[in-house]
Every structure is written in structure tokens, then in C-alpha cells.
């Protein structure tokens, strides 16, 4: 019978996990309606913030959930053999205005994996691509090691 050992990550381990991965899940809500999508992101370990590009078309539901700096959760998880690790961040998702860009912010987005909108049917000028910054108020992680019995 397999047994699990669960360990909470240290802040440094959380930073390492987020720096090692490039994709996760962004969860939003509006009234009783949930909304969750896969995202690509870049992680600034110094400020502990995630940078992401969100792509939508004029008729997509995504825009309805992104209005006015919503509260959001981001989950980044992965597994390596019998070790499962996950980080959950809870905080505000803020749109980055192009007029507020700095060289440092531009460099940060340069290190952010582009979302896979290349597979979209629409051309890039027809897509609404917005820059966002996720600033977690709470950022925690757990590692679970599954110890399986030898057969």
C-alpha cells in the first residue's frame, strides 16, 4: 500500500519551483462563475511576481473575468517520478499599461514564455494581447513523495 510524505516548501523552494516551470493554471471567478485557463509566465524571484501575457479575441469570455484587477489564483505543479510538487499563489492580477513600461519590465517580459497563440486562426493584429502582473499576497508550496510498495 503506497504511503505519502508531504512537506511544505520553503520560500526558496517555492522560488526555485516557479523559476523552473513556465506554465501553470490561472483561476478567476465572477459572482458564481469560475474561470480557469492554462498560462505561460515568467517569474521574478526578487519581487516574487509573475508576468504573463493574456490573449483574447473580441468575443472571448476571458475579458469579462479580467475587469478591474481581479483576485486570482495561480497553480504551478509538476511531478518527477514519485515526487509531486505544487505551488499556489493567491493575489491580485493587474494589467500592465504600456505607458508604464520600464526597461526592467520589458526585460522581464522578454524572459516570459510567449503564450501559444501561434496556433490561433486569427492573425496577431486581430488578437488582443495584454500584459499582466500577478502579485501574490500568499505564496505556498507542497511536495508529496509517494512511497510505493515493491511488487
Amino acid at each position: 500500500m503506497p504511503t505519502n510524505s508531504e512537506v511544505e516548501m520553503s520560500p526558496a523552494e517555492v522560488d526555485a519551483h516557479l523559476s523552473r516551470h513556465e506554465t501553470g493554471v490561472l483561476a478567476l471567478a465572477r459572482d458564481d462563475a469560475p474561470y480557469a485557463i492554462p498560462i505561460s509566465y515568467g517569474y521574478d524571484a526578487d519581487d516574487r511576481e509573475l508576468y504573463l501575457r493574456l490573449v483574447s479575441t473580441p468575443d472571448s469570455e476571458k475579458r469579462e473575468f479580467l475587469a478591474s484587477t481581479p483576485q486570482a489564483r495561480v497553480v504551478v505543479y509538476g511531478d518527477d517520478d514519485d515526487e509531486y510538487a505544487s505551488v499556489v499563489g493567491v493575489g491580485a492580477l493587474e494589467r500592465v499599461d504600456l505607458e508604464e513600461l520600464t526597461p526592467e519590465t520589458i526585460a522581464q517580459y522578454g524572459e516570459t514564455q510567449r503564450p501559444l497563440f501561434e496556433i490561433w486562426a486569427a492573425d496577431k493584429p486581430d488578437l488582443d494581447i495584454e500584459l499582466y502582473r500577478f502579485t501574490p499576497e500568499k505564496l505556498t508550496g507542497r511536495t508529496v513523495v509517494v512511497e510505493r510498495d515493491e511488487a
Partner: protein, 52 residues
Amino acid sequence: MTGRSTHTFVCPECRRSIEVDNAMRSTLLETGCVVCGAPVTEEDMGEAPTVG
């Protein structure tokens, strides 16, 4: 008072335009368009610098 020199960057792929100073301009040339990530060249930076 001396204003900083700015250029109007227009991405050749997503067509978003951004006013950039010299530092931002250099970073964009290294990293690509901040919005869509497309490669950027000097030609995308606009010709006439303006003083802001």
C-alpha cells in the same frame, strides 16, 4: 528643462505602438516586442525622435 528623447516603436507583427526612450529601445531590440515577443529591428523604432 531637457526632455528625454523618445521613439515610437510599432511592432511589425501585432502592430501595437509604444513610446520608448533609448533604454527601452535597446531592451526591445534585445528581447523582442514586449507584447507579442516578435523580433524587433531598428526599422521598427520610427525615424524621427521626439523630445517629450
